[in-house]
């Protein structure tokens, strides 16, 4: 069974991961995704009835620590990498629009 991932689906997942995408790119990715997912469908051959999903890798236990105050990066230092800042805050355009 071959899988088809159409351009509409590609555009949908692009928006889910907040990625701008052109019509040409959507077409290119559509073909590539179909062949990749098609290959990965081989997992359907494996019987996983009664097999639990892996959820950790090293049989790890929960790790707790003291809730102690530690020195952290200063505001000035942190903002060195911010593209735009104002009065000690990261500046971004409107988050909640007026439409």
């Amino acid at each position: 069974m071959s899988t088809t991932i159409d351009t509409k689906t590609v555009k949908h997942v692009a928006f889910l991961v907040r990625l701008g995408i052109s019509e040409g790119e959507a077409q290119k990715f559509s073909g590539q995704f179909s062949s990749i997912i098609d290959y990965f469908n081989m997992l359907n051959e494996v019987d996983t009835e009664n097999v639990p999903p892996a959820s950790d890798i090293a049989n790890a236990e929960n790790v707790l620590r003291e809730d102690a105050v530690q020195p952290s990066m200063s505001r000035e230092e942190f903002l060195k990498n911010a593209p735009q800042s104002e009065r000690g805050y990261v500046k971004v355009p409107t988050v909640l629009g007026d439409e």
Binding site: G20, V46, I57, N81, P83, V90, V95
Partner: protein, 486 residues
Amino acid sequence: MQLTTLTIREAHELLTTKKISSVELTQAMLQRIREIDPKIKSYVTVSEELALEQARKADERIAKGENVTPLTGIPFSMKDCISTRGVRTTCSSKILENYVPQYNATVTNKLAEAGAVLLGKTNMDEFGMGSSCENSAFFNTHNPWDLDRVPGGSSGGSAAAMSAGLATFTIGEDTGGSVRMPAGFCNVTGIKPTYGRVSRYGLIALVSSFDSIGPMSRDAYDCATVLEHIAGHDPHDSTTYNSPVPNYTKHINKPVQGMKLGIPKEYFVAGMEAGVESALQEAIRQFEKLGMEIHEVSLPHTKYGLPVYYLLLFAEASANLARMDGTRFGLSVSENAKDVIDIYLKTRHEGFGDEVKRRIMLGAYALSAGYYDAYYLKAQKVRTLLRRDFESAFSKVDLLLAPTCPTTAFKLGEKTSDPLEMYLSDIYVVATNPAGVPALALPAGFSNNMPVGMQLIGKHLDEQTLFQVAHAYQQVTDWHKQFPNI
């Protein structure tokens, strides 16, 4: 005396007997980088000023005889996904092209405390996504053994720098073969330690449940030396093991007679280059001569390793890369942006290369309603079976031997047009990471004048056995002492 091809312990001996200084050694490396690296292009950033400052400090430590470690004064390079305070850390991506971290990764701190000298940051596939280094947003790295061929990936810059004598050791990162596959292509020894053995704090995450930082070096002894210094518990990474780090080098000479070496039959199948297969067969005879018992074993779910690995990678990477959004750090494309979502869309469109785009979109696909059970959950179930394969094999043998790649290094451009074909070159190295087990890659000979790599795969936290066996092999072979003519 050729300073640029010394092992760590040769350099250490010369430094502590005052035959050379760290400044001299560092300058020799920087000089060779200036001369050779324009051909290889393994470094994204050379941190010359910092290197010379660290070298001067190392020389003072050695002069006073205070706090001298085997790494004091030794020049190294680091894959460009590990944070270095004040030194640009790009992941070879446009989105982080001008990103200068304000803090060090734990590994960076540990190496600085040991007195090692950071030469610079090495090229990689963007965010670790690739098997040839051709997905770097900046430039291709060339294999020092044949400049028309790839160095492998994603730690391709690290492997190429090591092989060309542009660092005495290097730090790579292995999410699904990214240390071992390029080590094999470039005739370098490298280890992917057990997941959780080395802190991931400050590593720019690709797949948080696979990522393993590991050293690459001239031989297994040097690898063991570096791992001793970077492994260990870190309060900043709750997945690190609490158990003490063994003194690997102290026990590295222990005999390997009677150890059981498993040969997984699923790794020795049609499709392997003839020269790779004959090199591996010769290596098996060598291990037998060393007194090891050879046993055929089966890892029945091997062929599902690739889809399991990639599906889980897509899913975790799509979440991990969400932070690259153009608002707090990195590239920001905000011109004419009407709202914050518009900044995300524009920044990520411009800042990510095609392979990153493919993988994060496929991650969202595998996690989305209607497909989650069929892809993500299914992959996590088969991951359990992959892990059981290893557990069952390790109930019969002490360690496993496998090739690192079915072929030697392929030509630049050979696989770039078909993403799936590029994925398939990882077929022998991906299964270890979903299982979390350690694996050490080392040179196994040559096929048509190109290096052949092999890997020893061990039990959880049993890096010691891998070092012992690799070291024993390197006492009776000299593949690892061959250097390219450049």
